[in-house]
């Protein structure tokens, strides 16, 4: 048998953990069609039954107010999964059943996973799964997703439910006399005209009309305007009546009765508590410290600093291994490929370009691992709460914090999902300010640029510099947000509410899956997009090649130098490695010949398309300390930020006398006379702030609904970046820093 199983549940109910436990590595991430909500799918088998598992977005409810809820609802209607597994947190049953009850009202075939039954027990809560199952009329299986306990029973229950194949009758809850009367009357009319009943149960449609559900109202108005408007009239009447008699409105009454229904159910022997519901737990005590007004922010900064220390310290060796591997690959290609353009493409374009980006995979992996720990333990939610206070000052919202962090607030995210994460912001103004400033965060693609420059110039204090870079990015983003909020996107602040999940010790399996997912995306991008751009940029840096007459001129110089020297010394040089055995005269000759080669390579690069563009920009960028090679790299970085590293790799490799001599790019930069710690700082600042990559700009355009904002972010960000970088460079030079 084959079947589709949807996983649903509240945020923090352990849904992702259960999904990982069920599917292991057999999962992939995509998007729901037409919207940018992440869709995770996987498969597993149980007793020879093949199950396709879809992870629905975590939601509290099934209203049309948030995109996640609409996505979850639409999936159930359009894809008709054979069974829905609703993961409910057994230690938090009352609030988690609120969603379960709505599934039942929709008439969805349901199996309950009573998750975190161990946590519930620790908290003195005993749940009688059998009793709950009897009362709700659906299977309820106790599980512990973290250890995988109860997983097989859960799948068995799901398979059984599929085999039953009976569409359950929708659950009917009483919503009090006034609403029940209206519901019954509306339901009758809906049934009589088969109004949307091919998709939804009749009573459910009536209920949604009462709740003023935007999506259902719109569907209804399109399908049958007459009936829709008469139903709306009924809703109007009831709403007026409720306002007059009970000083309330339908939605409040509906929520109240749903909770009432759940409360009554739980009291029938489902749940037994040892303690009062609002008793304090270890998690609350921890929060006293971690979210303390003064201690909290200090701990937060220490945690981030610790993460950087961890990342740079432990990734050093594996990064050296990967660099060594690409060095070896380069030597291999140099030895076996015939001279010519193809060799140049492989060595300078692919190996020095893409290899430079790939070299940072271990570093990225360690960073993602650390971030996964912060995320899975529940600490990031506290960070959002603590920063909400700061964000208010700058005209942003607590939910902006998450968008910032996803974009790379701790270093190593991506602005694309970050920009999409701004959808959780309801105020369009706060949302716009957030999505325009989120790209200032240090995404995983900027990280190699920083790591490269840090390794070359600030090797003695890697974590400290990374920390400083993070602070600069945040300060810049917040100030820019304040500027935007007090000029182009003025408007009031919206209130903030968020559930804080209890602290949990992350599972190793979960951490590995999350780390690998993100690392794999980085590798995949380097092997596809970055590879393509590296090849294009290599071509731009190679063609047109020097004219014959200029090449001949360099050749003449070489011959002249050789002619000046005694013939005996001319025979000797050739293999650069053996310079120990050379006489002083031969050494001098070799140096002079190399100088000519170097001049020719550089002239060739300057003469190429990219070289000309880079040189043309030099008059402007010289103020910030960037030479033409850096200009090429930064232009390439507009396609994707990793390209800055790969292009510098290619540029310095092409400009090199002997690209087969593969010393790491960071050493090449450190030894180059055009570079200094001050130039490095200037480039770091520019990289933090300048135009977001192309994909992010497209995303900004889509999310803000206008090309204007895409263009704005490109020009505004680049202008800010240029002014800051030039400022740093000029002041630094003035102060005599080098």
């Amino acid at each position: 048998m084959e079947a589709t199983v949807a996983l649903a549940g509240n945020p923090n109910s352990g849904k992702t953990t259960l999904f990982n436990a069920l599917t292991g590595a057999r999962q992939h991430v995509g998007n729901y069609p037409g919207v940018t909500v992440e869709k995770k799918e996987g498969s597993c088998s149980h007793n020879g039954n093949q199950l396709h598992i879809v992870d629905l977005p975590g939601t509290y409810s099934l209203t049309a107010y948030s995109i996640e809820e609409v996505v979850a609802r639409d999936f159930l209607i359009s894809q008709k999964p054979e069974v829905v597994i609703d993961i409910v947190d057994a230690s938090n049953l009352e609030r988690n059943l609120y969603l379960a009850v709505q599934f039942l009202e929709m008439g969805v075939p349901l199996v309950l996973s009573l998750n975190m039954i161990d946590v519930a027990r620790q908290r003195g809560i005993e749940v009688d799964a059998k009793r709950l199952s009897e009362l709700l009329g659906v299977p309820a299986v106790p599980t512990i997703a973290r250890s995988g306990r109860g997983k097989d029973d859960l799948l068995a229950a799901a398979v059984l439910k599929v085999k039953e194949g009976r569409k359950p009758d929708p659950l009917v809850i009483s919503y009090g006399d006034d609403l029940d009367l209206a519901l019954a009357e509306m339901e009758g009319r809906i049934r009589a005209q088969s109004f949307l009943t091919n998709l939804y149960p009749a009573r459910w449609v009536a209920l949604k009309f009462l709740e003023g559900d935007a999506q259902i109202l719109e569907k209804g108005r399109k399908l049958n305007p007459e009936l829709a408007s008469s139903l709306e009239k009924t809703v109007h009447k009831v709403t007026d009546h409720l306002a007059k008699t009970l000083d309330t409105e339908p939605e409040a009454l509906i929520s109240d009765h749903r909770y009432g229904y759940i409360h009554a159910l739980l009291k029938q022997g489902v749940i037994q508590r040892q303690y009062n519901q609002n008793r304090l737990y270890a998690s609350d005590t921890i929060d006293r410290f971690l979210t303390h007004r003064l201690l909290g922010p200090i701990i937060m900064l220490l945690v981030v600093m610790g993460l950087y220390k961890f990342t740079f310290t432990y990734s050093e060796m594996p990064v050296a291994w990967v660099e060594g591997f690409f060095g070896w690959l380069g030597d291999l290609a140099a030895a076996h490929l015939p001279e010519g353009l193809f060799k140049s493409l492989v060595l300078s374009g692919i190996i020095d370009g893409v290899g430079g980006v790939m070299g940072f995979v271990p570093l990225i992996m360690f960073m993602f691992f650390g971030i996964s720990i912060l995320e899975d333990s529940g600490y990031l939610a506290r960070v959002a709460y603590m920063l909400d206070r700061v964000f208010r000052i700058f005209g942003l919202h607590g939910n902006s914090v998450m968008a910032y962090i996803v974009s790379g607030g701790i270093a190593g995210g991506c602005a694309v999902p970050g920009v999409m994460a701004t959808r959780t912001l309801r105020s369009p103004k706060e949302r716009l300010a957030t999505l325009l400033t989120a790209p200032f965060m240090n995404c995983g693609a900027k990280l190699p640029v920083f790591a490269l420059l840090i390794a070359a110039f600030f090797a003695e204090n890697e974590a400290g510099i990374m920390f400083a870079i993070t602070i600069i990015a945040w300060a810049g983003a917040l100030l820019a947000a304040k500027l935007l909020r007090s000029t182009v996107v003025k408007g009031p602040a919206t209130p903030f509410v968020m559930e804080l999940p209890p602290y949990r010790i992350p599972t190793f399996k979960g951490l590995c899956i999350h780390t690998w997912e993100r690392t794999w995306q980085y590798i995949k991008k380097a092997g596809t997009v970055i590879l393509g751009i590296a090849i294009i940029l290599w071509a731009m840096m190679t063609f047109p090649s020097l004219s014959d007459s200029r090449a001949a001129e360099f050749e003449r110089q070489r011959i002249a130098i050789a002619a000046e020297a005694p013939t005996a010394t001319v025979q000797k040089p050739g293999s650069a490695q053996e310079d120990t055995g050379l006489s002083a005269a031969a050494q001098q000759l070799q140096d002079r010949l190399e100088a000519v080669d170097h001049a020719e390579a550089e002239a060739g690069l300057r003469y190429s398309v990219a070289g000309r563009i880079g040189t043309a920009l030099e008059s402007v960028t010289r103020l910030a300390g960037f030479d033409w090679r850096t200009n090429i790299a930064l232009l390439g970085g507009f396609a994707a930020k990793e390209v800055v590293v790969s292009t510098l790799g290619t540029a310095y490799s092409l400009g090199e006398v002997d690209p087969e001599q593969s010393e790491p790019l960071s050493e090449r930069l450190a030894n180059s006379p055009e570079w200094s710690p001050l130039v490095a700082w200037s480039l770091i600042i520019f990289t933090i702030f300048y135009a977001p990559c192309f994909v992010t700009v497209v995303c900004i355009v889509r999310e803000s609904g206008s090309w204007k904002w895409g263009a704005f972010s490109v020009t505004f960000n680049t202008a800010v970046a240029y002014v800051l970088a030039a400022g740093v460079y000029q002041i630094g030079t003035f102060l005599g820093g080098s």
Binding site: D256, Q277, N278, R389
Partner: protein, 71 residues
């Protein structure tokens, strides 16, 4: 009295929410409906609060706490 005024360590009952449809629907779905008992875990500054309700912990900004009437 609004939630923002309640000192930490007190337990109060949610009475009503001043806000638009959307805000209310969101709070309701999280379990913050009229009649819910709220225990104030901490209160800072002007009235940012951490509350415990129905087995969950919630962080509410000052603006939000101002919109919630309790007794």
């Amino acid at each position: 009295m609004t939630l923002s005024k309640v000192e930490s360590g007190n337990e109060v009952t949610l009475k009503s929410i001043n806000g638009g449809r959307h805000l209310k629907a969101k709070l309701y779905s999280m379990g913050l409906v009229p009649g819910t008992r709220l225990y104030i875990l901490s209160r800072e500054n002007r009235g940012r609060v951490l509350v415990r309700a129905r087995d969950g912990n919630f962080a509410l900004g000052y603006g939000m706490a101002e919109k919630i009437n309790v007794e």
